[in-house]
């Protein structure tokens, strides 16, 4: 299955990636190849196979509703590009 160049640009946009002309071309080819392999799997009869959502055959991994100490605020903000000592600071997000 061939992927269109426009689709690659769209997907890159959703992933917030800025691609060069050369990259767009390369990824269009590579992603098309990958989809080609997936297409081969379509030949299998999976009528009675339940979709897998987890690699291990386990269910109900849960915890009790008990609080554990959070990170210190210094640690929380340690990797922030910018902060004011209390909040993360990001470029103004225009809402509405």
């Amino acid at each position: 299955m061939a992927l269109l160049r426009e689709e690659v640009i769209y997907i890159a946009g959703l992933a917030r990636l800025k691609l060069s002309e050369e990259e767009i071309e390369r990824y269009t080819r590579q992603l098309s190849d990958i989809l080609g392999y997936i297409e081969q799997l379509q030949e299998l009869d999976i009528e009675n196979v339940a979709p897998m959502s987890h690699v291990l055959d386990i269910v109900n991994v849960m915890r009790e509703d008990k609080a554990l100490p959070p990170l210190s605020r210094e640690a929380v903000l340690a990797n922030a590009v910018e902060h004011d000592g209390q909040h993360f600071k990001v470029l103004r997000v225009i809402k509405e």
Binding site: L14, S53, H54, V59, V61, M62, P70, V90, V93
Partner: protein, 473 residues
């Protein structure tokens, strides 16, 4: 032309669990920013979410309370989008297989019962909070990961007023189950609406718009009214309704188009591989079922049948679990449902709203109210005195008996005492006596008023009336 309105509502309820949905950070409201945050909240590589069992309990609880089917085998899904208040880049949610589905809520609209179907209830997590300033946006991740239930109704709502009633009924049910306090102003309950209109009787649905940014039930109703009217004007002018998201603007009472970015909302849902599937067996459901309290509908019905309350009083007294509990606890001490119902409805609710307290923390306990009502019932005090005593009870926490004794508030039912007072009053008001005897019998109320004033409201009304009629007759 006549139009049918078709409305579906999406309600988000924030659960009151101690900790977040997928990590052990405390759920808090109003704490200093970024003080309840861990690597899971931050979406750090290598961190793994683990489901909070209490969140599943809450979801099952609400599902059962709204007659839903509970899904046996559940998975979670990632809903992908970029926004700074969600560092992972995706929200953990449920997609095709919500935990609860095919339920309903019965509402009362203009005296008639109407059933609103529920398509689904699913578990998801909340995002953090962003504050937009001049030179940037500040992000607080305390709320990030807080558990939510999203409740999606069928498009069974056909008027803005029905939407309002549905939301109130749903809120009552949620609060009865105790899984959330449902405060729309504080954001623990949020509502988005879908609305379209179509020519009356036509089957196919019209193009719908989505309404957001309503911060109260009344605003949901107002926004829907406005939008139905707007769509009608568009269609009657021969134009078409555009499918879009609109924001309710409280200031101008209008819906306004959201300046959308590029997004046609392509969330690219896929199964969340970090969480194991969730299997809910009958034993689990049974355990939750037996923990459910009597729900508002059933309680209201019982109040009318068992206590002989009117529909209206029963609805009011059963609207909140705490108020209903208060009422019934008071009956334990003094079983006079009509009298107690009236006093809870009129006086206790007033005291609670004045003191800003809930029924469970009422300054006058249910037993204390019962004590007061006993004095009223056996005519020790007049209704007017009872109100004064109740206010004093609320202010001081003293028992009715003590206040009545200390202040000498017992009703005066000693006829000789009343007779001499009445003699004096008649002597002081000869003109009124004349007019009464001349046929102006409504002046009796004037004389009773004088007696009440002379006794500070303690005179036995029936006896007063009897003596007055005898002496004036």
């Amino acid at each position: 032309m006549d139009w049918d309105i078709v409305i579906g509502l999406e309600v988000h309820v924030q659960l009151n669990t101690k900790t977040k949905a997928f990590c052990a950070c405390k759920v808090s409201y109003g704490d200093p920013p970024n003080t309840h945050v861990c690597p899971v909240c931050l979406g750090y590589p290598g961190s793994l979410p683990v489901l909070n069992r209490a969140v599943v309990d809450s979801a099952i609880k609400l599902g059962l309370a709204t007659h839903c089917r509970i899904r046996e085998y559940n998975t979670f899904a990632r809903k992908n989008y970029f926004y700074p208040d969600l560092p992972k880049g995706y929200q953990i949610s449920q997609y095709k297989d919500p935990i609860c589905y095919e339920g309903y809520v019965d509402i009362a609209v203009r005296g008639e019962q109407k059933r609103i179907g529920l398509t689904r209830i699913h578990i998801e997590e909340d995002a953090g909070k962003s504050m937009h300033g001049e030179d940037g946006t500040l992000v607080d991740l305390n709320r990030c990961g807080t558990p939510l239930l999203e409740i999606v109704s069928e498009p069974d709502i056909h008027a803005p007023e029905e939407a309002y009633t549905y939301l109130n009924t749903l809120k009552q049910i949620v609060r009865y189950t105790g899984i959330s306090d449902c405060n729309m102003e504080e954001g623990s309950m949020r509502c988005d609406a879908n609305i379209s209109i179509k020519p009356k009787g036509r089957k196919a649905l019209g193009t719908r718009t989505e309404l957001k940014n309503m911060n109260s039930f009344r605003n949901v109703e107002r926004a829907l009214k406005y939008e139905a009217e707007r769509q009608r004007k568009v269609l009657e002018s021969g134009a078409a309704v555009t499918q879009q998201t609109l924001l309710w603007d409280e200031q101008s009472n209008q819906t306004k188009a959201m300046r959308s970015k590029e997004d046609s909302h392509d969330y690219r849902y896929f199964p969340e591989p970090d969480l194991s599937p969730l299997r809910i067996d009958d034993a689990w459901i049974g355990r939750i079922r037996s923990s459910l309290p009597e729900l508002p509908d059933a309680r209201k019905k019982r109040f009318t049948e068992l206590y002989g309350l009117t529909e209206e009083d029963a609805a009011l007294l059963s609207s909140e679990k705490e108020i209903a509990d208060y009422f019934e606890n008071s009956l334990q001490t003094f079983n006079n449902p009509r009298l107690t119902g009236n006093w809870v409805k009129n006086e206790i609710l007033r005291i609670l709203s004045e003191s800003g307290k809930s029924a469970a923390e009422s300054p006058v306990t249910p037993a204390a109210l019962a004590g007061l009502l006993q004095f009223l019932h056996n005519n020790t005090i007049t209704p007017q005195t009872a109100k004064t005593v109740l206010d004093e009870m609320a202010a001081t926490g003293k028992a009715a008996a003590d206040i009545i004794r200390d202040k000498g508030l017992e009703q005066i039912s000693d006829s000789s005492e009343l007779e001499s007072l009445i003699e004096t009053i008649l002597k002081e008001n000869p003109a009124e006596c004349e007019r009464y005897r001349g046929g102006e019998t409504k002046l009796l109320a004037f004389f009773i008023g004088q007696v009440m004033r002379g006794t500070k409201g303690k005179a036995d009304q029936t006896l007063t009336r009897k003596i007055l009629e005898k002496k004036l007759g």
